[in-house]
Symmetry: C2
Subunit: 447 residues, 2 copies
């Protein structure tokens, strides 16, 4: 047999690992659906012209070509690298049949032609929720999206997630008030705080012509964070000691942003206590976002970076008119960590709760009938592949991780973990609830 | 707003249509899992060298390239065009952690760079089941796979499916007995019966040097079909009137094939009455298959061709040692027909069973609490996006297809279809079971 090696950047799971991934996705779906988000799926490809709009991401696009195209080539198509670009196109295309505000969730794979490296995938699952309005979108939906995501994360077998929230209006208002003209440029520098430190950011800002007092103000602002509205006091203290230009429009933006951020952090923490932090350092794609911006960090797994990010935007589509707010979970990276850090595992790799033994090939039909009786009541079952000695059949169940073996002749079922064997009727017997289907069990539940 | 047009060959569904697709896939998953099939997912890409082995399919491979690769190109990768090639590679790669016979199901999209045409997709869902042994695979699993697929199809909102079954050994034994040397070549001609008729097939076989008597026998054999083992008599009658070479090995193959096919058709019909037909015309990829071969036709939708096909093979992997049997459903083609022929539709497009009205923005938190109380008991709910007049909020529910509107002040819930409004407690109220989640309802159930 030829050795087959995995492809770097394209994760795949064993059947037991897939149980974990599958249950994580099912949990996300359920939380999203309970909150009224409808599921959509989009095709895997978009015209490259549509994908390539974002210059940063375009380097990573996988373009398609037909291997042996004899006729004219396809319109240039590429694989989507996120779920936002296809969602925007979907909303335009399906707008006539959608009721706005449209609440959608989407769990699909995306592809990025990155250099493979630790924790960077070329194919991975994302799970997105967005609420998109027609022309208007009430601010309370910025809280709702964060709350739904916080609840979804809380339902997973992972440590506590903290959502770091900032507000684009607050930041832009402050930056403009201290005299910064190229706000996006300054933000791109501040976004590197983790990488290059405050000295590095200071040097960059100075090189971009930002004054020393403005730079000092910007760096102080980025230090402010709090689990409640108390960040407002810190901002006010900073404001009093900072030189400002007196730009009234910028100051209004700043004040509105503060009020929005305070209300948002309070609303999220009221619904899911201890989740939200106002963090004035979050700069995430503020070019695109126009209100709240979110990043989410997993306690003890900060090296993963943000596991769930997003924000509020003025319009999903280029022509305007579809304001929205959305967040996206990097599911595969999360699943990979759950598995590698042993945060959770599957109770078994196969669906079957019961292996029905076969006494001899002539009576296989009797074993089939028992299995069908169990299946008819929603108990997954399989019949032994061969009428080997019972010891061998029990071994087969053990190898596959099946907890119960049914003996048709004696009409008994054996829990092969404890060895307990009891008489049973295939028309009424029930496995313990926890044994019916494979489950994903968190490390804490395993004791 | 720019007009966005669908991409030919890449189907997408509205949220209501996605409910139908999603429920069809969920039904398949459940039937497969109840029969002990474990789910796996494979990456979307394989090395082109692995994909291109099948010369017929290689024309349709979508190859990937990084749009702006500045460094060396990726190893030549292509999108998988079926789920068999990646499954074979997966079994090789994961063999050490799999327990054989390994029963797996897989529901994923596949891509084929075909010319777009009616009913041909370039991206579509397939749902596959296979049972793969290590070195050995008992014959009764050929019946099991067919039975599981027949049950899965019977659980869908589609007309009756008939499974046409043939046996490779029977056909090869007969062809060799009548003196045909190039059996695969003859089969390729017989496979065109529908397209070119018996005169066309006769001409092709003659051109390939097959004798007139052998050709006549082959064409007669292809006419034989029966819903039970009575096909055996027809074959015996044919045998008696056909000149044979007396090749003992071929005759044993022939006799074994007849016995296997008779047992298989009987077993499938015993489990799912009226499903199986022995049909000696089925030629489907007999190069690859070595035992049973299956095709499935939907009553009244014969133009779809085979909706579920497969067979028994000697080894999944090139090196040998992994005999198996599998079948594959073309899910997207089926879903497309279900939708276009209005065989089934969704009861609503959004998950929410309840829209909680908002009296005024100051009391939004009270509406949120009611929604949370419902969600906590598994009832999907959403809160009205704005505190408009109740009439407008009811209109919003109507547009979204939400059956119930909850009024927090009066503590009443209204079924907006009937207009019935009753007092209710969010901690105990239950919607009718059929209203809790969106459901897919067959045409017959809609009355």
């Amino acid at each position: 047999m030829s050795r087959v090696k995995p492809l770097s950047g394209f994760p795949e799971w064993s059947p037991a690992e897939r149980v974990v991934e599958s249950s994580i996705i099912a949990t996300l779906r359920e939380v999203f659906a309970l909150h009224g988000f409808a599921e959509i799926e989009t095709r895997a490809v978009e015209p490259v012209a549509r994908l390539a709009g974002d210059s940063e991401a375009s380097k990573e696009i996988y373009a398609l070509s037909r291997l042996k195209a004899e006729d004219k080539p396809d319109a240039a198509l590429g694989l989507h690298f996120d779920l936002t670009v296809p969602f925007a196109r979907y909303v335009e295309e399906f707008a006539p049949v959608l009721a706005f505000p449209f609440r959608r969730y989407q769990v699909q794979k995306v592809w990025r032609g990155e250099r493979p490296q630790e924790g960077r995938y070329r194919e991975f699952y994302q799970a997105d929720i967005d609420i998109v309005g027609r022309d208007v979108l009430p601010a309370h939906l910025e809280a709702e999206v964060a709350i739904v995501m916080a609840r979804a994360l809380a339902a997973l077998p992972i440590p506590r997630a903290t959502m770091h929230i900032n507000n684009r209006r607050l930041v832009e208002g402050f930056y403009r008030s201290v005299g910064i003209e190229d706000v996006p440029g300054a933000l791109r520098s501040v976004d590197k705080l983790d990488k290059i430190g405050s000295d590095g950011v200071r040097a960059e800002l100075t090189a971009k012509g930002v004054s020393d007092t403005a730079t000092a103000g910007v760096l102080e602002l980025a230090k402010i964070h709090a689990r409640d509205a108390s960040f407002v006091n810190a901002i006010e203290d900073l404001w009093e000691t900072t030189f400002t230009t007196g730009d009234a429009e910028a100051e209004k933006l700043f004040a509105d942003g503060i009020a929005e951020l305070a209300a948002l952090v309070n609303a999220v923490n009221a619904a899911v206590p201890g989740t939200a932090v106002a963090d004035l350092r979050i700069a995430r794609g503020l070019d695109y976002y126009t209100g709240a911006v979110y990043e989410t960090v997993l306690e003890g797994h900060e090296d993963l970076g943000s596991i769930c990010s997003g924000g509020r935007y003025d319009s999903l589509v280029a022509g305007g008119g579809f304001p929205g707010v959305g967040m996206s979970i990097g599911v595969s990276r999360l699943v990979s960590r759950v598995l590698s850090a042993n945060l959770a595992s599957a109770t078994r790799a196969v669906p079957s709760a019961v292996l029905v033994a076969v006494t001899d090939e002539d009576s296989r039909a009797a074993s089939d009938r028992i299995a069908d009786s169990l299946r008819g009541r929603g108990i997954p079952a399989e019949v032994a592949p061969s009428a080997a000695k019972f010891g061998k059949q029990i071994q087969h169940a053990e190898r596959r991780g099946i907890p119960f073996v049914w003996f048709p002749d004696s009409g008994e079922v054996k829990d092969i973990r404890s060895g307990t064997q009891v008489p049973a009727d295939a028309g009424t017997w029930e496995p313990p609830a926890g044994d019916r289907w494979p489950r994903t069990v968190g490390a804490s539940q395993r004791g």
